[in-house]
Symmetry: C2
Subunit: 410 residues, 2 copies
């Protein structure tokens, strides 16, 4: 008997009717002879509404209490889903993150999964029940309720699929798959049939909102195929899977844009071993996610370091950098806020030349200034003005002809 | 250092402003040198809204899943209360029923408290924190989330006050105390300054909605004074406390009416030992709360038994009685639905005569027919037509002159 994990996002469980629709899909999988685990997000805009409620009371609520608040959203969804399946004549049971033993570290609002004790799920499955698990939430070893970060119900689903050795992990969402670019910004964007974990990871972390990065990491680490698809149709979506030969032929798989970023530039650092380590140690200690690190040295023995952070970490980052500035007696810490980033991603870059040049040329022809550039083996990122972001996405999309069926580049 | 338990009902935490007001009250208790435990209900009409959501999906949702759903309401309140206290510059921590180790039996939606391990609360208090506990909810020994029944946040508060040997248990609500009758039905009703546990227990179980019966039981058992008062004023409310001599002088302390009842009459039962035990064993097994049991025997060796149940238990009660009817081959099981009950309560009844007669006379003069009568040492109940209920309350209230300051009856 195969085991499948089905994850339904907020829009897929936004009201009673949609919950019933999702329930029917799960029941169909059961009737097809599978064991079924469902992971659900909070209904519709519930999480945003809860955050608004918190903001009415405090501009900076304790993160522990935010987790206490936000985890209620998924708990509502799981109970209603269990009721819907039960009403349709099938047995189901809902379980919270704590009840399935999804143990995390204690970093509230951004906790990481340490282990999952899947005994309870296996027991309920072997009793013939459909098991419904609250996404996004876990429990720390001291019993505190934690959350895994916005959008992390995907991560719950992928992690459960890994632990339970699921045959499939299906992510039902309000879009019908992963696109070569965000279709709201580039109408010519095309649905991707199949994409490697690494490409999807880069696209997700560069701003493609479809999937949560850590979900893909779990998929990659444990070899779980993740199928991202629409909850409103039966069409296949995008399969995120291990890299295969033919993917190499596609130079760029997709482009993404991220807007709510800030860039910090630290000038006049001593160009000595251990300085960068010291700076990023302090940022990591405050759980500030840093990206696009660039360091350059001048002739005078000084170095400059720049990096980007998400808007949500901006205030905390400023505090940390104020201390660092004092410690290293820096003449200046520049904050460019906001900045945007446009990225092109593709495993084919490894074996093709001229990819970066094509991207820079497209931006130049559109008169978009590039503030900074970072690259990896399969990605090129340009930091630009947020006013140019949407245009940048479109010109890069066009330069790599992503609206056309994948070219068999040689 | 004294410990106080403050309980805020749904209307007292209905929005951000009211949560802040409740937070200020708790902080004031802290500043007065007390250790403070807060128990909160779900915000405003949250519980009703969640039940409506469940009903959209299922007419008869599994009780386990209802508990999973409804406990989210209090979890939202505790986190927001913690944020409000924190925002005001004081330390607070919110805890769920599971986190404080409030262990219950496994009877979902009507669980009873088995024990409370207050170590976590004591530890947080000794760290100088205000502790905020989710009312209404607990956890069964198998880790399942349970609830204690509608309105049971009072019970959580009283139980905590008992376990923590609190100096005071203050119940903040949307009324300013316990009245001689529901002021919405009898505008002449008067606030009671002090009432015994037993009288309050009878009034609560006979339909006075102010307090949850089990809360008063806890108060009585552990000698905790319970102060019911308005969260919107600083005036004293009603003190529920042990019986003292002067209470004896008051014949009737209050009257109450209960409307959503059904009365069952079982006719033709064998008048033999064990029959009643058998019937009520089956009802208890289904956790159906039964009241106003009357049994009469005729000359032919047969007995009739009647009793009332709450509307919410009606459907299940009918199923159980259908089985009982078959088992005892009863000619008839009559269901009078709906019926109402008007009750007069007072410890003074024990030592005064003519009380019942005065009540029956008042009802008779108002041309209200009495369907059945039950009495206890401190209570007289009459089953009547629901159409007469409000009028019955008023005439009984008037007959005992409850609008006047307590008469020193001799």
């Amino acid at each position: 008997m195969d085991l499948v994990v089905l994850k339904f996002g907020g829009t897929s469980v936004a009201d009673a009717q949609r919950i019933r629709r999702a329930a029917r899909r799960a029941i169909q999988e059961k009737l097809n002879g599978n064991q079924v685990v469902i992971v659900v997000s909070a209904m519709g805009k519930t999480t945003d509404k809860l955050i608004d409620l918190a903001k009415e009371i405090s501009s900076d609520p304790p993160k522990r209490e935010l987790d206490m608040l936000l985890t209620t959203g998924e708990q509502v969804s799981i109970s209603l889903m269990a009721m819907a399946i039960n009403e349709a004549g099938h047995e189901a049971i809902s379980l919270t993150g704590g009840q399935i033993g999804l143990i995390t570290d204690s970093v509230h609002t951004k906790a990481r999964i340490k282990e999952i004790n899947a005994d309870r799920i296996r027991q309920e499955l072997s009793n013939g029940r459909i098991v419904i698990v609250a996404g996004f939430q876990g429990i720390a070893e001291n019993g505190e309720i934690t959350t895994l970060g916005r959008g992390a119900s995907d991560t719950t689903a992928a992690a459960l699929a890994a632990v339970l050795q699921a045959k499939r992990c299906e992510i039902f969402t309000d879009v019908d798959g992963v696109y070569t670019a965000d279709p709201r910004l580039e109408p010519k964007a095309r649905k991707i049939e199949q994409i490697s974990y690494d490409e999807m990871l880069e696209l997700a972390s560069q701003g493609a909102g479809v999937m949560h990065s850590r979900a893909i990491e779990f998929g990659k680490k444990y070899g779980v195929d993740i199928h991202v698809r629409s909850s409103f149709t039966d069409y296949p979506g995008t399969l995120i899977t291990r890299e295969v030969q033919k993917m190499e032929n596609i130079v760029v798989s997709g482009v993404a844009v991220k807007k709510e970023l800030a860039q910090f530039v630290l000038i006049g650092l001593p160009n000595e071993p251990g300085v960068a380590a010291e700076i990023f140690y302090h940022l990591a200690k405050h759980n500030i996610a840093v990206d696009d690190i660039i360091q350059t040295a001048d002739q005078s023995g000084h170095a400059s370091t720049s990096f980007t952070v998400e808007k949500c970490d901006l205030a905390e980052c400023k505090l940390v950098l104020a201390e660092i500035r004092q410690q290293f007696k820096l003449p200046e810490v520049i904050c460019n806020n906001p900045v945007a980033k446009v990225s092109a991603v593709g495993v084919g870059m490894r074996s093709h030349t001229g990819v970066a040049q094509k991207m820079f040329k497209a931006l130049a022809e559109a008169k978009i200034n590039i503030n900074a550039i970072t690259t990896s083996e399969i990605k090129i990122c340009c930091i630009i003005d947020p006013a140019d972001a949407d245009k940048a996405l479109r010109v890069v999309h066009e330069a790599f002809e992503l609206d056309k069926q994948p070219a068999q580049a040689g």
